[in-house]
Symmetry: D2
Subunit: 385 residues, 4 copies
């Protein structure tokens, strides 16, 4: 292992940006990453102010990501950033990732990966032509009990998966007043957010989680996306009926107008022998249920887990970890991947559990297929890429 | 109030029948009803054996409902049964109700009311031509907090209803072995059960509950009903997208193959000001949630309720009531209705909160529309009666 | 089994009395008992009014328990009551039970059994000299999962019991205004309630439950009973440190002034291999916990139970039963005991799971020892009878 | 605010030490602290190995805290550590803190502060004679909803506090096998742990939390501490009856042998108007309960909080924070205090919410009073310092 922290540059995430602060915590929590520079805002002064609060030298707080990438390239190899994290609104993900990759920087991007499926496919080519790694922060896959759930499915504890219900309910966009907020305005603007708000922002997390844990892929969809609050251009609520590649049924419910819901991501997978149930708001509990015997309440840190799951846990049982630690697990793995890559261990690097460009493509395809399915009068729409 | 208990006859519900025993408890719990006779089985001896265990005289244990209705008619007015409860498999609901009503007996029927919508419509005519009352045991509307939830919607505590999610998940039919059981076999047989298993058995409860609490009616459906377990003629799982008459969105998820689920009926209604959340397995808790203030955990018996809700509660706070008491609340109200009717107070009788033929018709229409919607390649199907 | 219901007379329980109505429901729910007479109130007219609402003939509604017992004795054997249930304030339990037993009626009494330990010991002699049965309604032992918990301890699933924590928290007596209520006034009056309010009303339930489930008996106590609300003669809150006869530690927390608590009876028993946790407000769930494996959430009706536990369950999984059904389980067992007794099967009768005079004595001893322990400056007080 | 991170040195916390890693995360999570040196182990090589994994230069990984303090003192002011955190077993807390303070370094110490009350009192004098700050990591006071609970008590939402129940149940020391583990062995050794294991390790947290939230102080105790597992020199379980300075009753239950319990710290405070209930394992939920209205489920991030509470929250509602973030809140406040101190704003520094030497003294007094109370045959023991 390298005897030093990896050097990270940040694009976006200036003062007041929720997700920027979350990324910085996630990067720092395990002491493996050092933030060395940032293009925190398109406003030069705001970028410098943001960097100053983060104890960065003024000269490494840039007014644009283009400037950052070009300037950092010129720095000595032992000083310049080694990877960039992109935490801007969606429409900048692709151009920023493209420029960084082409300049030789590894990229860790917030989701959704791009503004469109076409961009995601294009990004794949760019990655292949670069000598760089690309990761995507599908945060919820970072929870240890989600990884354990994945293993329970894989080892056939559930039997054949017959049905999946995944829901992601939030309430914060329930009325028009919400739209004035910084978090809301860009998400509801197609030019910054893409063709979907609810599916692009949270539905894609739900779909990713269902596929990640079940090991299945969505093959057909019947979608009902609408802007519930009048006047919106993009959906703020969507329900999608699903078929998976093994024939299993599914339903995905996502909403940003479900008043009183906080961040209600919940996944249930029903096999013919057992089922699992996990809720993000109580992430240290995973239910394993049976028809004919007592349910098991699996808790982070109680009992035996695989070393892969165990390594995603920092505290003993009963000392709750949460969203930031799950996020940090994405970073830890990405950092490990970069280190292996830097050491030339490419095969090992490729085995590390980090959401990658394939997940990015599936995510963008999910969004575009959901919108197409919703626009269709036909019930079933084949999921295509 | 009458100075005596009402005399009840029972059709179906012999030894080993789950729902018959439940009805008897529900009828007896408040001491307002006396079981005086029964046609508990089409097997004369089994009927007598069942009746004997219930302390009934042998001569009032009949081998068929036809025999019972004819014989009881001949008894003196102060001895013969005053109403019948029908707890047979579905296909007998209609003929038994018809005969009883035509013979002048009030009817309380298990759901679904009939085998088809046409039968339900026919039943309405029969009721109108009789001088009798007809009630339907949509049990879950008997819970006090469901009635309170209804009032919260009606008094606009939630604001405009924007979204309804109702789910009813069971796991007991998850595999083929289950089919040999007494409860399973008739439900999966179209000749006894009708055109749907899952929607007819539990989906209809979910739809009824959503409409009862919200005060809205379903106007459009997109349905995905399937037999998940191979070889079944009827659906054992169904998901339905909904539109309500005010434009609100909805989703109804029902399953009998969701391994590990017991009797997971849950209703969430999201208004633009607040939302409610209620689960049948913890029926003494009702959540009232907001975006911008603490959620309220409303508990049976804590705080103020309307007299209508209060009268549905038998115990002080923290002494849990459950399914049988909810069921009993249907009986109590039906008994009150019969008493008012007997006293000639027809208007008052019509005001009592008992599921009636209109609910029966909507229930059968729900089942038939769900099946039609599921069979259609078009996404949306208009709910018609 | 007898081909008829058992005939019950009730002492106390007139209109407005919470516990009288509960007893009637518990007696009636399973159709094994017929209420035939009552001395519902010391006021002749109130007793008749109460009985009228219960559809009793006026002549069997008595103005005193003495009148009832004397008059019923004179009735033909196939008409007169067969047992009495006593649901008065505490001070009448003993004289009413005494008179009934001496007149040849079986007795089912509410708890605490008597006003003092001396009365309970005297009652034991009376029972032995009678040819009658005596039962005590320690309701909470009627819950099926409590019986299952008892079996888990007995079969050593928990290993050696090392620690027991039982708590019973209510809030309804938290202020002086509460005292004007009917339920409160007699409980706070030593002449009707005895030497303790909180320990006599609810602490004794907690102690009984701990001993019932663990199979252990309390051997030493250190008690801290106080009237928290000023001006009260009796305790409204009490904490008791315990030692059990096997050396296990324990703590019993009871309160009637714990604002916001409903009927918070909870039992935790920690063995050296596993522990159990049960809460009365969610009675259909029993936790079985381990240090090194997933907790098990045992649910009423899911999985295998002994026939004894199974017979205490009326509904399938997920159809919640509650307090009234637990209460009814006491009645069902008492009725079975009376029937076996009437059939001369005395040994079988003695095996039925009904709280009896020994429980009554231990309950009164618990109350008196708790008060003595609380009054002592010495830390530990030996539990004596 | 300083334009740089504060420089921290660590005493203890080498590889494999649970609490050392926790401290490092807590220090790093908000990017305000830089670990610059450490005496991670008394073994020089192990200390260097530990430091290497933390990317520290070898020359700043010391073989003893004495060496570290002396050597760092000699470094230029802009390089040497500014404060030390002490995360050793208990017996080293005092000598390490003493040496650091006398050498002019601020100290943040794990709890319990010292091995005895006498040491804690001595430490107070040392602090007063130094020009340094001293903080104590009573982690659980760092949770935002604990701070909010404190405000609810202070603003009289609960009315007069009448009763406090605080419990801290763990199961990990339930058998003798546990003793061989690194975490267990020193805690059960009086020479490293002091005169109590259970009270010193977790009881002191419970007492601190009760006093912190209620604003009251313990005035009398009746204690029952024992080693449940045979052969232990120190208690592994303890129950303590309490009186607070306003006359309120209390009970503190702590155990390390409660099999199946993880880290079950729970605080309930009952006023005469309302009560609160908080459990560390679900730290983002705080219950506010009433006798006569619906309970409120207060959630981190939902609704309005004071700026002090709000500043302890990093994520939006529904994105759970946990133990590490609570710990980090102690660090953030200590860092703020140090910065204010460095800027000469002594008054402002003294106002920052950091557990200090007074808490340390009360904690040690709690432990010693609990042991003395437990050793006494008298029921009540006055809490003295």
């Amino acid at each position: 292992m390298a005897k030093r922290k990896l050097r990270m540059g940040m694009i976006g995430g200036g003062s007041g940006a929720f997700i920027g602060a979350v990324h910085r915590i996630a990067a720092q929590i395990d002491g493996q990453v050092e933030l060395v520079c940032g293009a925190f805002s398109a406003d030069q002064q705001r970028s410098k102010d943001s960097g100053e609060q983060l104890f960065l030298p003024s000269e490494r707080c840039y007014g644009s990501y283009e400037e950052m990438i070009i300037t950092e390239q010129e720095l000595p190899a032992d000083q310049r950033m080694e990877f960039v994290v992109i935490v801007t609104p969606n429409h900048l993900h692709y151009p920023a990732a493209k420029l960084a990759l082409e300049a030789g920087f590894h990229v860790l991007s917030d989701k959704p990966a791009t503004l469109s499926l076409a961009q995601a496919l294009s990004l794949k080519t760019i990655i292949e032509q670069s000598n760089c790694l690309y990761g995507l922060t599908h945060t919820y896959t970072g929870y240890p009990l989600i990884k354990h759930a994945q293993e329970l499915v894989a080892d056939n504890t559930l039997g054949t998966v017959q049905k999946i219900v995944v829901e992601y309910h939030q309430g914060w966009l329930a009325d028009q007043e919400a739209e004035s907020g910084k978090q809301a305005s860009w998400r509801l603007d197609p030019s910054q957010s893409g063709i979907s708000c609810c599916m692009g922002d949270i539905g894609v997390h739900a779909a990713n989680l269902a596929e990640y844990v079940s090991g299945l892929t969505i093959s057909k969809m019947c979608a009902d996306l609408v802007p519930v609050v009048p006047g919106r251009q993009l959906d703020d609520d969507g329900t999608v009926l699903l078929r998976f590649n093994n024939g299993a049924k599914g339903a995905l419910l996502a909403s940003q107008i479900a008043v009183g819901e906080e961040n209600g991501l919940r996944l249930r997978i029903y096999g013919d022998k057992a089922s699992i149930d996990w809720s993000q708001q109580e992430p240290n509990t995973l239910w394993l249920k049976f028809n004919d015997q007592a349910s098991q309440m699996i808790r982070t840190g109680v009992g035996q887990f695989s070393s892969r799951v165990q390594s995603a846990i920092r505290t003993p049982a009963g000392h709750p970890e949460g969203y930031l630690e799950a996020f940090a697990n994405i970073y830890v793995n990405f950092v490990e991947q970069v280190r292996l890559f830097q050491q030339g261990e490419l095969d090992a690097a490729s085995q590390v559990d980090v959401p990658d460009i394939e997940d990015a493509i599936r995510g963008m395809a999910f969004i575009e297929n959901a919108v197409a399915a919703s626009n269709s009068d036909q019930k079933w729409h084949n999921f295509t890429i």
